[in-house]
Amino acid sequence: MPILENAFEENLLTTKVDWLLNWAKLNSVWPMTFGLACCAIEMMAVGAAHHDLDRFGAGAFRATPRQADLMIVAGTVNFKMAERIKRLYDQMPHPKYVIAMGACATGGGPYFKFGYTVVKGVDRVVPVDVYIAGCPPRPEALLEGLMALQRKIRATAVIRKPAITV
């Protein structure tokens, strides 16, 4: 790093291991590239310049589950897709998180009553960390959901059980 080289005197930095790990984790939640229905359009809007998901370190959409930390289930999950989602989730390395974006992924949405092949909530297939309401949720809602996930990550502890939870 030529810019930072010799910029500081030799120094010592103290921090907590948990804090450092969480700081690294929550600022690089890389989502997986996939969208299932109309909600995915909002997700793309969030990834684009106007809303800029990259501010939160989560804009690097990975094309493979093996490099992804976060699965944003953006859209309607049907049974044929549920099998694939489960397999993709299993291929993601730990720590992994799931956001159920929109009414469909949360609980079937508009297809709750008559959608014979729609899974009534992706949480019947994979564990979900954050639910976002809306049909589709506004881009701000997805950002809020991501920040909720970051708060959740910040409260986790690897070394020691946290005294308080969120």
Partner: protein
């Protein structure tokens, strides 16, 4: 050509299996009891002769229905005794359309495939067969196209019961 023209041409050419036609018209002002006839224009064709009919509609010089715009089926009611199979034909050359209907019994829903005449029918027929349980005789690739392969039941039938669970995932 308008519908009347198409219908006359079909009759003139001796189209196979043509049973009747729905010709919508306004009520006759002189006759108070006459209510006219509503609905969309269509011709009803004997399902056993659908291939011959489609072949003529495509090859005839004046009709020239080279495009199958849609193929669908419908279940009119729970207690109805038939399914409808509905073909929408389109001629770009002559700028006219035709709706063709076939009535097939629910007890034995089968009809010949027309994918040999119009290849666009292939996928539509696959969809109809998984949604309504209609068998298309001689279809080259009769797999499911939308539903999973192990799906039970035909979702667009009026008496369809929703599954309680699919592969361990609760549906309720």
């Amino acid at each position: 050509m308008d519908f009347q023209g198409i219908y006359d041409r079909l009759k003139e050419q001796g189209a196979a299996g043509m049973q009747e036609a729905n010709l919508p018209r306004l009520p006759d002002p002189a006759d108070k009891k006459d209510k006219g006839r509503g609905g969309d224009p269509y011709v009803l064709v004997d399902p056993a002769q659908i291939c011959a009919f489609m072949d003529l509609a495509k090859k005839d010089e004046r009709l020239h229905f080279e495009i199958l715009a849609d193929l669908s089926a419908s279940d009119p009611a729970v207690d109805a005794e038939n399914f409808w199979v509905i073909y929408q034909l389109l001629s770009v050359k002559h700028r006219h359309r035709l709706m063709v209907k076939c009535s097939i019994p629910k007890s034995d829903p089968r009809i010949d495939t027309i994918s040999g005449i119009n290849r666009a029918a292939g996928w539509h027929e696959r969809e109809c067969s998984e949604m309504f349980g209609i068998t298309f005789n001689g279809h080259p690739d009769p797999r499911n196209i939308l539903l999973p392969d192990d799906w039970v039941g035909f979702p667009l039938r009026k008496d369809y019961e929703f599954p309680k669970e699919y592969q361990g995932i609760s549906c309720i």
